[in-house]
């Protein structure tokens, strides 16, 4: 999986007008949304930056993170994206808005895989298809360097909306693994609902080990994972979406804590899970 030339950009320069509070500083499960977004991207991308306005560089929510300060005229997400291309012109950017509390690492690899399979030659971005209206979601998307000059022209002509930009210029669209995954929060009511929903989401740490074909497709032999999956069956759906496993669940067995297990067993915190592809000893 060629993930190296993709950097991450968390957009945190917004005015948060309807929220009347800085959306980057809203807390979910004890962390600010900016920290959560930055941490998830940092686990999978080689470099991640926070996009800020010039007057935000000493803001305590942002100051401790690597920043890209707006360097082109105007305001809005397109300015942040263009400033990122100005700072590092030859990389693709995984652009992520700061008001998506349900964003998780499960949303990184489907885009990366689509980019590897499809290439960016024919579209300026790889984006999710909105579960609400089928339109591109520009602020959880991989933007290609070829988009930079086109964005400059679009902005010069008065354009401000990255979604309209992608509708006009074409994005390769990918289905969302979970229709709610990109629900955003704009109002205090939406924030309290999202925070409560994330608090209720019982998540736990599991240890996953990978062998043989699974190890090659996951690109690792083990990992510790924070997940809301409650059974091996759910966990396999989550990991298959992330890593693109070619084997279907029916072809596998599963072991929990070094013993064969049922797929519907209730997992407990710190369980060690191994998916067992068809064996071939002897």
């Amino acid at each position: 999986m060629s993930i190296d030339p993709i950097y991450g950009l968390v957009l945190a320069g917004g005015a948060s007008k309807r929220m009347q509070r800085d959306k980057a500083a809203l807390r979910y499960r004890g962390k600010t949304q900016l920290e959560r977004a930055f941490e998830v991207l940092s686990q999978h991308l080689s470099r991640v930056f926070v996009s800020v306005r010039a007057d935000q560089t000493s803001d305590p929510t942002r100051a401790h993170l690597p920043m890209i300060v707006d360097s082109v005229e105007g305001s809005g997400p397109i300015v942040g994206i263009r400033s990122a291309f100005a700072a590092h012109p030859n990389v693709s950017w995984f652009v992520l808005a700061c008001d998506l509390p349900f964003f998780s690492e499960a949303l990184i690899y489907p885009l990366v895989r689509a980019r590897d399979a499809h290439g960016l030659a024919e579209s300026l971005a790889i984006a999710y298809k909105s579960a609400h209206d089928g339109l591109p979601e520009p602020l959880c998307a991989i933007w290609d360097p070829a988009a930079a000059p086109v964005l400059a022209d679009y902005q010069a002509a008065g354009g401000r909306c990255p979604r309209k930009f992608l509708i006009r210029h074409g994005a390769h669209l990918v289905d969302l693994p979970d229709p709610r995954a990109l629900d955003n929060v704009n109002t205090p009511e939406e924030y309290s609902q999202a925070a409560a929903s994330l608090d209720n989401l019982a998540s736990m740490q599991l240890k996953i080990q990978y062998y043989a074909l699974m190890r090659e497709q996951a690109g690792r032999s083990e990992e510790t994972l924070e997940t809301s999956a409650t059974t091996p069956a759910d966990l396999y759906i989550e990991l298959a979406a992330r890593y693109g496993f070619t084997l279907s669940r029916e072809q596998l067995k599963v072991a929990v804590n070094s013993e064969f297990s049922d797929w519907s067993r209730k997992l407990a915190a710190n369980d060690a899970v191994v998916f067992i592809p068809p064996v071939a000893g002897g």
């Binding site: 080990q209 062998y211 043989a212 074909l213 070619t246 084997l247 279907s248 029916e250 072809q251 067995k253 072991a255 070094s258 013993e259 064969f260 191994v274 067992i276 592809p277 068809p278 064996v279 071939a280 000893g281 002897g282």
Partner: protein
């Protein structure tokens, strides 16, 4: 330990000594070797990998089952992991017994069950430069394939 792994060549003389018993009238062994072709492809080497913690438990269960099913004295299975060349021994099964019939039966039972049940995988490297995990790459194209029956189609050795 009635089932174990080794990273280096299997010492069959030492393994055979573990089975010796004055009450045994003989012993049967099976050696699995790395073959130079599989399914029409020229094989150059194999890599074996195991989920050892579970594999040893399952392997010991298989040997215990064999000792219950057949009136034999001792049984042992040793499987190699790592990179193996053509002709190398990948697996050894030995059974000692008062009489030969049950020794053959128990030996056959153990190797068949080990191939079917123990979490061990092998990756074949071909003369063409390609490689593939045996029983996995083929299954990926046949999603109806399941574990309900043994994977014996592409067994090597």
């Amino acid at each position: 330990m009635s089932f174990r792994f080794t990273q280096t060549a299997i010492d069959t003389a030492a393994a055979r000594r573990e089975l010796q018993d004055l009450g045994s009238g003989g012993y049967v062994c099976f050696e699995g070797w790395v073959r130079d072709q599989n399914e029409g492809q020229e094989v150059t080497r194999l890599e074996y990998e195991a989920f050892q913690e579970l594999a040893v438990k399952e392997g010991e269960r298989i040997v215990a089952e064999a000792l219950r099913r057949f009136p034999v004295k001792h049984a042992l299975c040793i499987h190699r992991v790592g990179s193996l060349g053509l002709g190398d021994m990948a697996v050894w099964v030995g059974v000692s017994s008062a009489h030969r019939g049950e020794a053959f039966d128990a030996c056959r039972f153990i190797i068949d069950e080990v191939k079917h049940r123990v979490p061990i995988w092998k990756k074949e490297h071909y003369r063409s430069g390609n490689s593939g995990w045996v029983n996995c790459e083929r299954c990926a194209a046949e999603p109806q394939h399941s574990h309900e029956h043994p994977h014996r189609v592409a067994s090597n050795p």
